[in-house]
Subunit: 325 residues, 2 copies
């Protein structure tokens, strides 16, 4: 299977590395909108200009789109789905139906296959929610995120006057997690499930009291949450907080029996050293599914819900039945 | 979707109850090899003789086979797959390829759809192993079972001279579980992951020392394990140990990055009040997939690996994309 990467940030680098672990995957190259000769790739993979991507139409089985969900993917995915089998990690949950429709129309117009919103949330977490909900129709789903870096919240802090740099960790509240894991089904808001832990580098002489107040009172981002702010040096930030860990848990408590007398707790959890590298690993596995499903003539837009587990595996049906079932 | 149950033990009763939670499912009846009028069903569902099942050929969309894996399913599933779309919970891991081949041949001979080995292990645990392995090809899988009743081990104790009744709990060893959850990948045998906790009711005047010794030295079942034996009264066994809890965790620790520098832990875990009721709930969800896939002309034998998550859901594609992704 010949893949290529379109867009070369953290996610693109993750796909470049992930491809090394899949014996059936050949990485053709990386397409960038920057000047190709300014990019140094991790593995030495060749770099091409995004402007030349159509020249590779017949050389790429699946093109993995590594752009951002806010401005890139809404137009890039439909555009490229007219010429390639593609997949993306579109993660603006509220706009998924709209994105799906646009990609579906584009992919069908030229008989291509396009999978959207692969990754872990949306992605493997979505799959976990669906399995648990289908098996236990009577019950409640809970999603806890973290401990992990939230890029959006870190950026929001950086925009405050006097802030040089910042990292925000989303941390699940242990008591809430324990209550849900015990089989109870409390009503919990996002703020009742998570706290926000901020590490901030301030300018010399900046008003730390004002910065802390502005963070803690920021609507939507922090105001409703148990938020802690710790001021640290730029060196400490670099040394201790430059990783991109993340993770979380999807939990469903559901009832069975004649009258709901038995409770079952289904949990899927992730603890990730590197959020972009894990997301990239999911993308490569689903690129394989796109490749197999395109070969079977399944055209149009797809999500992880439409993909049978066997299609993301490198192994044959015989092998997975003998060794994994 | 019209379903029927073939075989009426704990699992059959579980399916009978589970069907109540699925709005799109209608339970046509229960087929038994016992005299139908001797059975009292939980929900008042009608009972028919297994001998009459072929008379219902056109009234049943999917027949759920609730027999045992040792002697029933190896011949029942292929036999009934010639006349119905069926699914079973065949769980003799080593014989799955053989069972799959027999069922595949039978189902294809008359264009039926037959899914084998649904449940949680094999079943949802298998699916969890496959997702994690496909996403992180470099890594190790671990399966921990329990805390839960093992029927086979309980039966083995009951066969000892002087034993009236017994329950054996398989219990994961906390230290091993914690080590794996921390991201390490130790080599662990089944005995290094689990201990065996036995509650035994002995005959009046039986030699308890001998019984305990026979249990602890029983090859395969107990000899390799940290085994504890507690003698209790028949009343205490009935009061405290008559449930059928089970569960466990599938964990994969996998590497990513240029040279495996980052570790990720993927865990799927179950905590079940009732093993047969949860297994039955999985069967009903997969019966829906058999129904949908049969309607699309997908004939022959299938496993959970061949089923896209969307096919086990009661919801439409639009609904799951809008609410679950």
């Amino acid at each position: 299977m010949k893949i290529a990467i379109y867009g070369y940030g953290n996610l693109g680098r993750g796909v470049e590395c992930a491809a090394r672990y899949h014996k059936d995957v050949e990485l053709i190259g990386i397409f960038t909108r920057r000047a190709p000769d300014t990019l140094k790739t991790v593995t030495g993979a060749p770099v091409y200009s995004a402007n030349d991507v159509l020249k590779f139409k017949d050389k790429i089985d699946v093109l993995i789109l590594c752009g951002g969900s806010a401005t890139d993917l809404p137009h890039i995915t439909p555009e490229l789905a007219r010429n390639f089998n593609v997949l993306d990690s579109f993660d603006t949950h509220a706009k998924i139906p709209e994105h799906f429709a646009a990609v579906d129309e584009a992919a069908k117009s030229t008989s291509h296959t396009a999978l959207i919103s692969a990754g872990w949330d949306p992605g493997l977490f979505s799959v976990a929610r669906l399995y648990a909900s289908a098996v236990l129709p009577e019950g409640e789903n809970y999603t806890f995120w973290g401990t992990g870096i939230s890029q959006g919240h870190s950026d929001a802090i950086r925009r405050i006057e006097g802030v040089v740099d910042a990292r925000q960790y989303t941390v699940p509240i242990e008591e809430a997690l324990a209550e849900v894991r015990s089989g109870k089904s409390p009503a919990l808001s996002t703020a009742e499930k998570h706290k926000r832990v901020c590490f901030v580098v301030a300018k010399d002489g900046a008003d730390l009291v004002r910065i802390e107040k502005e963070i803690k009172e920021m609507p939507n981002y922090f105001a409703d949450y148990d938020t802690t702010v710790t001021f640290i040096t730029a060196e400490e930030l670099r040394e201790k907080h430059s990783g991109m860990p993340h993770g979380g848990s999807v939990i469903r408590n559901g009832k069975t029996g004649f009258d709901g007398e038995n409770t079952h707790t289904v949990e899927f959890s992730l603890k990730l050293d590197s959020n972009p590298e894990f997301t990239a690993s999911v993308l490569v596995a689903y690129a394989r599914a796109v490749y197999k499903m395109a070969a079977r003539g399944r055209i149009g837009a797809l999500t992880v819900f439409d993909v049978a587990p066997a299609d993301i595996s490198e192994m044959s049906g015989e092998e997975i039945r003998a060794h994994m079932l």
